[in-house]
């Protein structure tokens, strides 16, 4: 049962073939079995999950009409607060902190009867592309435990690939949902900015951060998207409009007559040949399904990474000022408030977080502001214009999600620039605030590891990603004859 899709699990729950308690226990058992090796979870809330499951079972038994995913378990990225449950953001700074309130995403999960199994590992404060920056140790890719599961949401993607949960929540500031999905053979969606509330999402870069669904199938992701999405008065940047019809789109995957734009700048040199081969095979498949493939050029994308590594650190240096040792989190040292702050932030923050805070402080300091942050904001405009022009020629845009498959743990740990390049294809959508989805494209020839196919749609046209994603997913599945994760080694056999 744990290898089924969330929709299949929901069906079994509905027909009372299985109870939510049994389903939840099966996932808790799987976590016990494999998480010593995978380390996807920072905290497992067995009691809370089972209590929630008992409640859903009782309501179902009483004949209450439940939400589509009621009773299905989920893994929550540790950057979203859940009342009373430790929330660390992968940082020592918040060790032991138990938030006094629920994020809107968590409230909606609870309202939908979705069972929260626990909190997943991540790069500290979501800064990273490998989950190696977690203060609590790295997560291991279920496909090969010596490799990274992507980041920052590597815990969520690994939990899906290791069948520890059928659903997960991620957050994506520059690719932290999509790149982990790509390197673990799972599905990840960054909705349009403002499509899912940020209330209770610990801020990294507020103009870029976006929570979204992670799953093993496009339809599962769509149901989860509908469960967590939509307007929230607690987030002033939440879009006050209906959620795009993503479930309907995922159920009706079809690309006939659609124009699919291949972004010239997001392929070629620097991309692993096996990743590009899979990308091109997917394009051929889409063409055979009746889509028209057109090439588009987004010439300012070459500047996206540079703009991102000014904007995100700038916003982070401001956002993380809240960790001042006064109201929550750890407090280190004695003396004046300033001395305590200095000592606490020195001890509480890890290397990458300090690097970005210092970089952001520099980029925002007077004399450099216009040259760095100001110029990056202009590049942001140019990238949005590139997208607008491209979407005038195509309904969706596509690219490989990440330039390579999963690399070895430790391989890029001492080279921040090499690490930053992982997000080269995912960052432009965050800068423009549009949606992006990654679905498995297959296994690369060189290493037999999964690679992702990225689909991007205009703002609030998220349904188009699901429409194309589900069509491609079905076509690939019929080629492979079995789900991609069936090729992953079985875990916990030691």
């Amino acid at each position: 049962m744990i290898k089924n899709s969330a929709v299949e699990m929901a069906k079994a729950l509905n027909s009372k073939e299985i109870s939510s308690v049994e389903l939840t226990q099966a996932h808790l058992d799987q976590i016990s079995k494999v998480d010593t090796d995978v380390h996807a979870f920072l905290h497992v809330d067995s009691e809370g999950a089972l209590a929630q499951a008992r409640d859903v079972d009782a309501r179902r038994k009483a004949g209450e009409k439940l939400a589509p995913l009621a009773g299905v378990p989920l893994a929550l990225k540790d950057v979203l607060v859940q009342k009373g449950i430790p929330t660390t953001c992968g940082s020592k700074m918040l060790e032991g902190w138990r938030p006094p309130y629920d994020s809107t995403v968590v409230s909606r999960l609870k309202d939908n009867g979705i069972i929260i199994l626990g909190k997943t590992n991540m790069d500290e404060f979501a800064m990273g592309s490998s989950t190696e920056n977690s203060a609590y140790g790295p997560t291991h890719n279920p496909w090969d435990l010596t490799r990274i599961p992507g980041g920052s949401g590597g815990g969520s993607s690994a939990a899906l690939a290791a069948f520890e949960a059928p659903l997960a929540i991620g957050t994506d500031t520059g690719g932290s949902i999509r790149q982990p999905a790509a390197v673990t053979g799972t599905v990840g969606v960054k909705p349009t900015y403002g499509g899912v509330s940020r209330y209770g999402l610990v801020a990294f870069s507020s103009s870029l951060d976006q929570a979204g669904p992670c799953a093993r199938t496009v339809l599962d992701a769509a149901y989860l998207h509908e469960a967590i999405g939509g307007y929230d008065r607690m987030d002033s940047t939440s879009i006050n409009a209906p959620i795009p019809p993503v479930v309907e789109a995922a159920k009706n995957g079809n690309v006939k007559g659609m124009k699919i734009g291949v972004i010239k700048e997001l392929q070629g040199d620097g991309y692993q040949p096996g990743v590009l081969k899979l990308f091109n095979q997917s394009l051929d498949l889409l063409a055979s399904l009746g889509a028209e493939i057109v090439e588009v050029s987004c010439k300012y994308f070459d500047y996206a990474l540079a703009a991102y590594y000014l904007i995100a650190p700038s916003e982070c240096s401001s956002n993380l000022a809240r960790f001042d040792a006064m109201r929550y989190g750890i407090r280190v040292g004695e003396g004046s408030a300033e001395e305590v702050m200095n000592a606490t932030r020195q001890q509480g923050f890890g290397r990458e977080v300090k690097r970005r805070i210092i970089l952001g402080t520099y980029a925002l300091s007077s004399g450099y502001y216009d040259a760095y942050y100001g110029s990056a904001q202009k590049v942001r405009t140019l990238i949005s214009r590139d997208f607008e022009a491209a979407f005038s020629k195509a309904d969706v845009l596509v690219s490989p999600t990440a330039p390579t498959t999963a690399f070895k743990i430790g391989e890029k740990a001492n080279d921040p620039i090499a690490m930053y390049l992982n997000d080269i294809a995912t960052i432009p959508t965050n800068l423009a605030g549009i949606g992006g989805m990654s679905i498995p494209a297959g296994l690369a020839d060189e290493d037999g590891l999964p690679a992702g196919f990225q689909i991007m749609a205009p703002a609030m046209k998220d349904d188009r990603m699901y429409q194309v994603g589900s069509a491609l997913e079905a076509a690939l599945l019929s080629q492979w004859g079995k789900p991609i994760l069936d090729n992953a080694p079985s875990l916990g056999a030691r």
């Binding site: 138990r98 938030p99 006094p100 309130y101 900015y193 403002g194 103009s207 002033s236 940047t237 879009i239 070629g268 040199d269 620097g270 070459d302 500047y303 540079a306 703009a307 590594y309 000022a321 001042d324 006064m326 109201r327 407090r331 004695e334 003396g335 004046s336 408030a337 300033e338 305590v340 200095n342 932030r345 020195q346 923050f349 300090k354 690097r355 805070i357 210092i358 970089l359 402080t361 520099y362 300091s365 760095y372 100001g374 110029s375 990056a376 904001q377 202009k378 590049v379 942001r380 405009t381 949005s384 001492n414 620039i417 390049l421 080269i424 800068l431 423009a432 605030g433 549009i434 703002a459």
Partner: protein, 124 residues
Amino acid sequence: MDCERRWPDPKVIRARSESLGKVTFMSNISRDDVANLAKLARIDLSEEELNHLSKELSVILDAVARVQEVASADVPPTSHPLPLQNVFRVDEVRPSLTPNEALSGAPAQEEQRFKVPQILGEEQ
């Protein structure tokens, strides 16, 4: 880390600066510069971190300085993906955290208040 390396790596992204005014910007961030930034950011960096970060920051800044190549005066800046101005809500009383909940994560508290170390120095 190879400090000569520019970013993005030419192998990764085709060089495309033909018609664009070339901006050469050699960042040289000293240990003292980083120490000053760390003071502003309230982080007590170690000597080793100061030295390490000054090298890394110079490389990263050289790489990100490329944004200046295309940031001409006629391009308006974008600070946010949504064209929002001020977002207001009705000023009404709604359920919120109790004082105990709000203080529940505090490193120290006293009389329903956050207890903080001395803020002003002796001479102030």
